[in-house]
């Protein structure tokens, strides 16, 4: 049964501690061992595969060499026959028979190697698939285990007062309040900033004699003198 299916069964059975229901320490160890075994098997199969492939190509080369030689000797036989040397032709033909027998022995060997290569490749692909599957299962098991562990250690650390997380509604309200305070603060400092720049600007304008300039004693005196 797949791990996910086990978890669903545990859930529907009303198990509260799903982790414990599904993940015993053995399950993880067994899965890890299986993955290791399969990976070893794959490595071995790959070794055999390279060996068999080497044998295959060696046998193939041997067969090709024999074919070449047979062709060559058939030529020689023809030449001997053309020259009317029947005895020599027969001798050469005997040689051809020898090569052909050798080739007849090698062909089934080559076929055997080819079949082994195909079957090894097939085995490797199957094993790789199953490793991948086991790794995914292990990942599900480990995640389940981690979540469980996190729950337990968070609960212990929370009850020891490291950080009290309160009921959801309270949390929500407190975060909202904090955000509101932050907003207010930003607004307040914005207003403050703008007031400051206003005052600053006014002062500089006055100094430059622009806008509402303050009446100065000298100006007043000047005005009175004119009257």
């Amino acid at each position: 049964m797949s791990i996910l299916k086990k978890i669903v069964t545990a859930l529907r059975g009303g198990a509260r501690e799903v982790g414990e229901a599904v993940v015993d320490a053995n399950a993880i160890r067994i899965l890890e061992q299986e993955i290791k075994d399969q990976e070893n098997a794959i490595a071995k199969a790959k070794d055999s595969l390279t060996e068999v492939m080497a044998d295959e190509s060696k046998t193939g080369r041997q067969i090709n060499a024999l074919k070449d030689r047979i062709g060559e000797h058939e030529d020689y036989t023809r030449q001997a026959l053309e020259k009317g040397d029947e005895a020599l032709a027969l001798e050469i033909a005997e040689k051809i028979a020898l090569y052909e027998n050798e080739m007849a022995e090698l062909v089934p060997v080559l076929d055997g190697y080819r079949a082994s290569v195909a079957s090894l490749k097939d085995q490797i692909r199957k094993a790789e698939k199953s490793v991948q599957e086991n790794k995914r299962e292990l990942s599900v098991v480990k995640t389940t285990e981690r979540v469980q562990k996190a729950r337990v250690s968070v609960n212990t650390s929370l009850s020891s007062g490291v950080s009290k997380s309160s009921a959801a509604r309270e949390s929500l309200n407190r975060i909202k309040e904090r955000q509101q305070r932050l907003d207010d603060k930003i607004k307040a400092s914005e207003t403050l900033n703008s007031e400051n720049t206003d005052a600053d600007l006014k002062a500089r304008m006055e100094e430059a004699g622009i806008g509402n300039t303050k009446s100065k004693a000298n100006d007043i005196l000047e005005r009175l003198k004119k009257k």
Binding site: K142, K149, S153, V154, S165, A168
Partner: protein
Amino acid sequence: MQLKDLAIQLSGYIQDGFKLDVLPIQENGNGEISVLQIIVEGFDELPIFVTATDEQILCVTNLFTQDEIKPELTQELHHTMLRLSINIPLSSLGLIDDQYVLFGAMSTKTLLENVAHELVTQSENAFESLEALEEFLK
């Protein structure tokens, strides 16, 4: 990436303008860190619990427990959560024992910056999900 390395690298990290605060939680006894509690600045009430296997980093935020929801709305809540989950970027909704959670999973080969980005996104998602599902709560 090991949790210890992740803790060291993420501590004080600033992502998208948010500072990350990391608290490694040790498993009883053997000193091995099994969980990180990560708080994204401003989301103190919604800590993210991070665990890792060889393959993935898993980030879980607790939303609410079964006994916090209005019993008559349970069925509707489940439907809503299933449908909502698809719309939430980078995170999904789930249930661990009686705890409803928001979670995200990443490959252990994820770049640090992307891990940090996911954590920030998860905090925002958790807050917005809670806000969206508030009426189902008691």
